[in-house]
Symmetry: C2
Subunit: 434 residues, 2 copies
Amino acid sequence: MTASKVASRPLSAIAQATRQAARQLAVLPTDARNQAIEAIAQALEAATPEILAANAADCKAAEAEGIPKPLYNRLKLDATKLKAAIDGVRDVGRLNDPVGKVEIHRELDEGLILKRISCPVGVLGIIFEARPDALIQITSLAIKSGNGVILKGGKEAIRSCETLVNAIHQGLSASAVDPAAVQLLTTREETVALLQLDEYIDLIIPRGSNSFVRFVQENTRIPVLGHADGICHVYIDQAADLQKAVDITIDAKTQYPAVCCAMETLLVHSSVAPRFMPLATAALEKRNVELRGDEPSRKIVDMSAATEADWSTEYSDLILSIKVVNSLEEAVNHINTYGSKHTDAIVTEDPTAAESFLAQVDSANVFHNCSTRFADGFRYGFGAEVGISTQKMPPRGPVGLEGLVTYKYQVTGNGHIVANYVGENAKPFTHRDL
Amino acid sequence: MTASKVASRPLSAIAQATRQAARQLAVLPTDARNQAIEAIAQALEAATPEILAANAADCKAAEAEGIPKPLYNRLKLDATKLKAAIDGVRDVGRLNDPVGKVEIHRELDEGLILKRISCPVGVLGIIFEARPDALIQITSLAIKSGNGVILKGGKEAIRSCETLVNAIHQGLSASAVDPAAVQLLTTREETVALLQLDEYIDLIIPRGSNSFVRFVQENTRIPVLGHADGICHVYIDQAADLQKAVDITIDAKTQYPAVCCAMETLLVHSSVAPRFMPLATAALEKRNVELRGDEPSRKIVDMSAATEADWSTEYSDLILSIKVVNSLEEAVNHINTYGSKHTDAIVTEDPTAAESFLAQVDSANVFHNCSTRFADGFRYGFGAEVGISTQKMPPRGPVGLEGLVTYKYQVTGNGHIVANYVGENAKPFTHRDL
């Protein structure tokens, strides 16, 4: 079955077929899923010429439409990048199996045993940018975690995505996994329709612009894993080491300004501002960072004025807003008010101040004396990152494979009935962990 | 501050005050939260005469309006029931602290340490029936887990709830917890408005009728913990022990038919149906259970005919639909199609059939040779139950205190910046669990 044939069927039929295939995939043993991942790697190797040709056609069309250079670079899939992506597939195969972990094992009473066991979520709907290598990674993570997946990539990558999914289907057809477990959508209309299919889709993972993620969050009843904004702060405490403060400021702002865990607002304690601010702003301006300060900041260093809107803006660019605060508490309040609950850091040599900041800042990632840029599943040692969640309920923060599994409770008895455990002569439960 | 004064303020001001109080509560040590719980228990003891008087007034008013007997029994709070509820508060105080658990402790590199620590969710919005004892339990669970809570009880219990919250406020005022952490709403309009306050409320827990829970789920962007339907099945496999099958059938249907984990549909393998069905239906009819069967069932035992609608109906009453299936697979498909992903059981002496059922049925609780009625947080040994979730993502199934906490990632460094970990001379991460 080719991807384009798939896309010509009605969406609910596609989703139903994915659900059916996912049910079989969910109960496959670890080995069978790992073999399917290896089969995908081999099929992608075998299809390399077709994949590169399809991508070249995508790139040519995108260039003709004047695609911006950074987007072009993400769309472009040369032999080196494809090989790296295939290596990534095999890396996923080597990760620990997230499925089938016994999280609770408890005797409730003699012969009545409770187990909580991790299991796949079911069917994932993943909407991603025009980045063919992302499709490869997402698919291998989905198979590893026992989930079916419905993919929708950015429209500029349509030829690449179709060719990749054809190869993946070819690989899977030689495995225990039904190729219908991986489906590709190709139109924007299908994406919108996908959000309504809460009967067939268990989790949506949107990647892309803040406004797109917010659109998804507001237009579906399906749980969404991800985040719209990344408004991250670094707070320079009165007890900060100034050299660390400058190093972390530069790294958090300039090391990769377009990424969600880059700093957008710098908060500086008033008692350290006169010494810190000139050092930091000089280093930032040397790196072409545009500065926007509140009034107290501008009394120390000349820069343009920040407006109220700046505190809630994710620049994703070489722009930084700066605010002087008079206390740790004011910094925490600013972050909890204007931040996006993503990643916020304190620079201080005072352990009490650090402890207080880490406890009170209400964000998924709270850092002490290190750059906000460390907020990342690979850097945390998760082996892979599905996305970063800024919701309060788990999974929160960088989410690895564990975000693609859930759990179920299994109880095995020998004819046990509740009537024996209630009323006057109620049997007690033993509740003994095994 | 009295509850009625609270309710006269605008809702967003109430919610903001709760958020503020919850932020302080969230960072209190275990002892301080446990002391606040003891202070609540003592204040409820001291206010016993007022509480009983208020409840008597509620009961009198409800009787005058002709409240059904089961609802009256839940509304009624006599001295014995109040004492039991206060004992329950102290039981919650003795539970393990769910806050501050170090779930991951990992060296990312020398001097760069990651911890994942459990922390309160923030502010809970809990909408419950006209059951004053529920208010007492919910409040103690909220304080134990470090969360603020906005309560809305059924309107018949309004005097009881106001008196209880007054007493709770009095108790908290002598503790480290700001009484504003616990708030009471009293009108239906406020409940609807509450669902819009995603800025201040982190989790909604609705209790009550299926249609009410569904209304909540469909009218808020705040995460909802709970479930609308409880359409639970028992499947009698061809290798079932018939005595166990009958016992479990009777218990699952009749031990407490109004509860969500009671059985609604009985599935029977065709090869065992001629022997099992007469035994089971005789026992069910002796307990006044109305039977509705499909055609094959009615060929074995005389009963009224089930319609398609019966398979998706939660009777919550002494009514049972019965269907004959020709295979385990057909049973699993029926459950995954018509069930509510709550609790489903297989009765069989065949371990392979049991394993296959437990793996393939896509429900929060999957049981082998025991009654569906065991799906309960207390019976699972969780010490308390906040609710049962039928969503796919965690928390799923019976949810104890752990459903009221989330986690955050804390990283502590010594001036660490990402620039040193990328590019040609990138430092490797050590990723060593501590």
